[in-house]
Amino acid sequence: MKFLIIEDDNSAADFLRQGLGNFGYEADVAHDGEEGLDMARKNDYDLWLIDVMLPKRDGLSVLKSLRDEGKQVPALILSARGQVDDRVEGLRAGGDDYVVKPYALNELQARIEALLRRAKNYGKHPETELTVGDLHMDLLTRKVTRAGQEIYLKPREFRLLEYFMRHAGQVVTRTMLLENVWDYYFDPQTNVVDVHISRLRYKIDKYFPKPMLHTVRGTGYVLRAADDAPQEAGRNGE
C-alpha cells in the first residue's frame, strides 16, 4: 500500500506520513499542486490525500484534472474549511471523502480504511446480503438473523448495522456514523450516538455468548465476527 500526500506544510506532511506509517502505510509527499499532479500521474498510488489550499495549484483543481484524465484512485480531501458547502465542492471535484483539519489520526485511519474497502469492492455487483460471522442481513427482505435467530431492528438500527457490516473489522468513528447513517455534518455536544449503539448492541449481542460490537476507546466502534479475537481494541462494556 502506498499513498500520496499533497500537503504544503512540511511538518504537517511529516506528521501525517509518520502517523500513517504507524498504521502500516507508506506515503510519498508532494509539496505543491504541480508537484502533486506530476507525482500522481507518474506513479500508481492506492490513495491520494489532498490538501485544498496549496501553492501553485489548489488541491481541488489537481483532483479535477486527475479525474478528467480517468484516474480512479480513491481521494481523501483534507481541508481547514469545514462548512457543508466546502464539503460539497470537494466531493464534486472528485473527492471520495472530506476530512476537516484539525483531524484525529484515528478518524483519518478509519476513513482511509473505509475508502480502501470501497475501492476494492468498486465495480462488483451490489450486494443483496451481508454476512459477518454468524450475523446475517438480507438487504431485500430487510431480515436480520444471528445464529439463525431473527433480530428485529427499527429502520435506523437497520441502517446503523448495515453500515457496520459493510465496514466489518474496521474502526468506525462517531462522526462517520453521523455523516453516513444520519447525514449530519456537525457533532452534537452530547453522546447521542453512543445510546443508539448500546441499543443495537443490546439487540445483537445480549443473548449470544460472544459479543460482536466493540467500543474502541477514544475513537469509535468496530463490528467483528464473534470468533475473531479483538486485537488492540480495549473493550468498554455497557
Binding site: 462548512q83 458547502d85 449530519y184 456537525f186 455536544q189 452530547t190 447521542v192 477514544g218
Partner: protein
Amino acid sequence: MPPPLASFLRFFRSTPARLTVGFVSLFLVGTLLVFAYLSFQIKAALIAQIDKALLDQQSLLTVQYRDSGAAGLFRAIESELLSKGKRERNYRILDRNGRVVFEAGELTLPEVKPFKGVQDMRIPPVGGEPGGHARAVSFRLGDRYTVYLAHSTQSIDRTMQGFWMALIQALVLILLVGLGLGYWLGRRFWSQIEAFNQMAMKIVHSANLSSRLPVSGDDEFAALATNMNAMLERIEKLFQGIRQVSDNIAHDLRSPLTRLRADVEVALQQNDPAKYRETLERALEELQKMQEIFQSLLSLGQAEAGSLQIRKKPLDLSALLEDVVELYGPLMEEKEQTLTTRIPPGVTISGDRQLLAQVFSNLFDNAIKYVPAGGVIELAMARRGERVEIVLADSGPGIVPEMRSKVFDRFVRLDPSRTLPGTGLGLSLVKAFVELHGGSVSVSDSRLGGAAFTILLPVQ
C-alpha cells in the same frame, strides 16, 4: 477653555466666523448695489426737474419778450432772480454781433455756441469758487437776441452727497451690528462644536466610552448630541460585548490550556510510561474540547458576518424534526425524560437542512442537559400564517427572567460553575442560524414549569 486671544484667533478660522464674514460681505455688496441704483434714479429725476424748470423759464421769457420787449424781459429776469435767488442761476443775453447785452446771476458761464435742447455745462472755477456743473438751454428771442440760461446742479450733488453719507453710516452700522451678531451666534455654534470636539478628543485619549455630550435646547445641535450619545452608547455596548467575549474566550480556552500544560509538565517530571499514556489521553480530550469551541466560534463568526453560505432548498421540516427526535429519543429515554411531540406531517419550508438540524439538535442537547430524571420535554410545531412555530418546552429548572435576553449571547452559561459539559455557544448558534433563515428565537416560561424555546421560521 484655551486663553482668550488664542481662542479668539481660533474662532476666526472657524466655519461660523467665515460664514458670518461671508454673509455680512454679501449683504454689504447687495446694499451698495441697491443704493447705487437708487442714487442713479434719484439724480436722474432731480435733473429732469431742473430741465423742466429751464424749459418753463424759456417759454416764460419768450412770452415776456414778445409782450413787453427787451426791457420787460430784463425786468422779468431780475424779479425771477430776486424771488428764486442768484446763486443757482445765470442768464446771459447776446445781441446779433455776439456781444453780451445782459448778464445776471452768479454762475460763471463759459463761452459757448448756441445749442439745441437742455445740455450739461461745465462751470469753470473762478477765484475761490470751485467749478461745477450746470444744466443749460440756449434759445433765440426774435432775431436779435440769443439767450443762455443755466441752472447749477450743485444742490443735486449736495443732496446726493448727503445721501451717500447716510448710506456709508448705515453700512458701517450694519457691518458692526452684523459682525457683532454673527460673532455672538457663531460663538454659540462654535462653542457647541468645540464641546463635541473636546468630547471626541477626550474619548480618543482616555478610551473611556462612557462620556456623553451635554444636550440643551431642542435645535439641531441637541439632535446631533442626542444621536452622537446614542452612537456612543451603542459603541460602548458593542465594546463591552467584545470585551466580554474575549474574556470568555480567554477563560474557555485558557483554562483547558492551563490544565493541559500543567498536566504535561507534571507527567514529564515523572518517568512513568503508564502516566505518560494517561496524560496524553487527557490532553487529547482537552484538545478536542478546544477544537469544538473553536469550530463553534468559527461558524458563529461566519453566520454573523454573513459569509456563511446557506443552501436553501425546499425542506420537509416535519421529517427533519422527526429525524432529530429519532436521534435524541433513546438518549432521553436513557435519562428517564419523557418526550412528547406534536409534529403535523408535511410542513415544508425553504431552508438549509444541516443548519436547521443543528439548531434543533442544540436545543435538544440543552434540554437533555438541564431536565432532571423524570422530567418532561415537549416538542410542538404549528403553522402561524406565513410562519411555522416550533416550541420546545421542558420541565427543567427554567431560566430566570433577567437571564432570558442573555442566554443567546456567546459563552453565557446558566450553570455559573461551568461544570456541565458545553461550550456556551450552542444557543448563540441557534440564534445565528435561525436568523440566517429570516426567523427568530425567544425563550419564555413553559407550562411544564421550565423553559420554552419558541422558534418562528418563515415558510418561504
